[in-house]
Symmetry: C2
């Protein structure tokens, strides 16, 4: 399904208006950013860029789309003819997928004719908001699992097919090692995992027969689901019988999966039973409505869990299911020159940052693997060895600080040029490694799941002065 019409109606109303007021071809620059991280966290893991770039690159309206728009009797014929011929002329700068990004920092800045940029708002936000949300939740969960493998199991509870497919990719970016979703595994070339459901057991006269049938077909993939009837009375004893038969035939069993009940207690007793029976390497997988805090609690109780399968609470980010990224005009061409633009608001934190910007991550000059702060600057500023800056957090007293002894690395990179040259990593495991490297450079306190310390993000004095000038102009208007 092509997504050119996956656009709020008001974008088309405005685009028609821009066309009729002859402003559609003015160059415009919009930023995508967010104001509040999910789950009271301190950052978001950026994701979704690859799909955005693919959509923008191939953006054009089909004759059927145009016929539909014409049927609404709301748009001028000239505008619709113009749309028929329209192809993407936008360029995109963005943070690479897998970058930890803080509030107010642009994930992505898009530059192009005002009309084109406006018509892409809804789709770009939809993709970036969704995938960054799930990547961030996957980071929380895999971080709580403390290097134990986490499998993404959520397809049946995802909010529609795309949420299952692209959510699985985002889950890999955030740290998962595999997915149960075969289509996502195929599309993104990642491992598909999963053995049996309760229905397998129920389709046989009894549990032992079901386990034996499985072991015969998959002698090297015997991960047996032990909670269909009773984990400790039936499931684990039957599994151990089959494990012994497997070993006698020259195969080592994989282990068991527990999907209900008190996981902490069941896992401890199952571990002891398997150890006593001579299967200390058989793994225990847990998979019942888990989230980061439950995993932490299970591990704190000493539950001997080796793997986690995480469903609905990952694939919907159910504890915080919305990332409210926005898409705001930063600059607009006027008579051939760029003019910075601002959206002001009675709410101080909703006032936008005007102009073409760049985000720098500052590393300690004496310990370059250690990030110390981010700085949002105007794109044409020279970042020397000293920066005069003001906190980007509108809730703190806004004193000037002088930043020194850093190495500054610009984060926004060109990923799509107007001639449609795209440079953007596709492989979710490459992106996962990039994310892990970037996370390792942040302070541990910033990565705490509860009450994280906020990483310092600054604005340069020039950016703050420009913002204040535009606020003054708008409010004296």
């Amino acid at each position: 399904m092509n997504h050119e019409l996956l656009t709020d109606m008001y974008e088309f109303s405005m685009a028609n208006g821009y066309y009729l007021t002859l402003s559609h071809d003015k160059q415009a620059r919009f930023d995508v950013f967010y104001r509040k991280a999910p789950d009271d966290g301190s950052f978001v893991i950026s994701a979704g860029l690859k799909q955005v770039v693919d959509e923008v690159k191939n953006w054009h309206f089909s004759p059927d789309d145009i016929a539909y728009l014409k049927s609404l009797k709301h748009f001028s014929d000239d505008f619709l003819f113009y749309l028929t011929e329209a192809h993407n002329r936008c360029s995109i700068e963005a943070l690479p997928e897998g970058t930890p990004v803080f509030p107010q920092e642009p994930f992505l800045s898009i530059t192009g004719p005002l009309m084109d940029v406006q018509l892409l708002e809804t789709l770009i936000l939809n993709i970036i908001n969704h995938q960054s949300l799930i990547a961030t939740k996957a980071w929380q969960i895999t971080s709580a699992a403390d290097n134990r493998p986490v499998m993404e199991f959520g397809a049946r509870r995802a909010q529609g097919p795309d949420a299952a497919i692209y959510g699985a990719r985002a889950a890999i970016i955030g740290g998962c090692g595999s997915t149960s979703n075969v289509l996502a595994a195929k599309l993104f070339n990642v491992p598909a995992v999963g053995t049996m459901a309760h229905a397998w057991i129920e389709s046989f006269p009894d549990e032992l027969t079901a386990f034996r049938a499985w072991a015969k077909i998959y002698p090297d993939n015997a991960a047996l689901l032990v909670d269909t009837y009773d984990v400790l009375q039936s499931g684990v004893p039957n599994a151990i019988k089959v494990f012994k038969e497997l070993r006698a035939a020259g195969h080592e069993p994989v282990g068991i999966r527990i999907d209900s009940g008190d996981i902490a207690q069941l896992a401890k007793q199952a571990r002891k039973m398997m150890d006593d029976a001579g299967f200390p390497d058989a793994k225990i997988t847990a998979s019942n409505a888990l989230d980061a805090h439950i995993i932490k609690s299970l591990l704190n109780q000493g539950a001997p869990l080796d793997n986690f399968g995480i469903g609905e609470r990952l694939i919907t980010s159910s504890s915080s299911p919305v990332l409210s990224g926005v898409y705001k005009m930063a600059a607009l061409e006027n008579k051939g020159k760029w003019e910075p633009k601002i959206k002001i608001s009675n709410s101080r934190e909703k006032v936008t940052l005007p102009g073409h910007k760049q985000v720098y991550r500052l590393y300690d000059k004496h310990d370059p693997q250690h990030a110390v702060a981010d700085v949002i600057a105007l794109a044409d500023e020279q970042i020397g060895s000293k920066i005069t800056a003001i906190s980007a957090d509108v809730h703190v007293t806004r004193n000037k600080v002088i930043l020194t002894d850093f190495i500054a690395k610009p984060l926004l990179q060109q990923v799509l040029t107007p001639d449609k040259t795209a440079t953007c990593e596709a492989n979710p495991f490459v992106i996962q490694r990039f994310a892990k490297k970037n996370l390792a450079q942040l302070p541990a306190a910033t990565q705490r799941l509860l009450n994280p310390d906020h990483f310092p993000v600054y604005l340069t004095k020039r950016l703050v002065d420009l913002q204040q000038k535009l606020i003054d102009e708008a409010t004296n208007m």
Copy 2:
């Protein structure tokens, strides 16, 4: 994108196992049902059936799908060859979309060869869980809005493109009158709505110029966004100026939209300003992070709001973003005869209802527009004028009751036959009307948003006896 592989890996592992143990062609019947309504509600509005039927009807594997499965080196060649030829042979009985459905009642029962039915689990759950969740949330919100029009505005915060598209359809089913999502509007033939964003205002030198430009292009669609700078100091006064100019030119303005700030106070003052200026018919639309309880509160405060535009809290059902519908085996063929099947559990409410079932809604014989209870029965039971039944709620004392003086209406209807004849309503407004009719038959207390009274759902004595027999057999095993 075809969705045959949008299936958990374990379904394929089991399907291959069924094939190799020669049980793949046994007839099986699975039920889709849920145990707990979102937001502590008492029911769910069923949705998603049309898409399920379309997917099942067209279900087949492409050569590319088969090549991918082969590359996993996990499945037998015979099984993969069998899949190459496989077409849907399932039949589906279901509640029509728009039916209020209570815990444990089958939304849908699917019957067909075990392998086919197993391979459809993930996709069917994904679609039904998502769309029923959003339809239910839309019902909550439109019910709180008390007959004022509600527009679905969530595309940019939906969990991926499909969540925006099918979520918009579900929102219409649940009671919304229109959507901002142009693609959804096209696909489902529903109204697309929306006027301007802040970017329109910002692209002009000042607000008044922006409003005037809009009114010139859309003289009969002047719904002006008044909160770019300051609602009462700038937005409403400028809107009134333009309204007067429009009226002088023979057009009536539509009204204003407020998207930030204290909506209750701003709306009251804006209303007074527009009334005093001679525009008592100009409407006020509110659209900032609204949900059912906020709408109720605004209306209780007397906020003079005429329309609502609802975004993220509707399209993600953010206060309760998961409907945990499950897909459980109810019966399986054994030597040419159906055997009822059960999934038992230490948790009483997780024990399933075995066998082929039908759901009846009972209406008061003396007041047939008044539903009094639901009864889940075995499909081959004769429902006469008297039913011996037991509450389906496992948390109440399970006394027998005798139900009399009712008219019983079966709810599960055949919607897809094995020869692929589908009968299933597509038009979301027809489904919305059906939902409204069904809701009007339920007690008001069942429809309360906070602490609703639970509608009585019963099981027939025969069904309870069968369930107990199978529990006894499984636990003596």
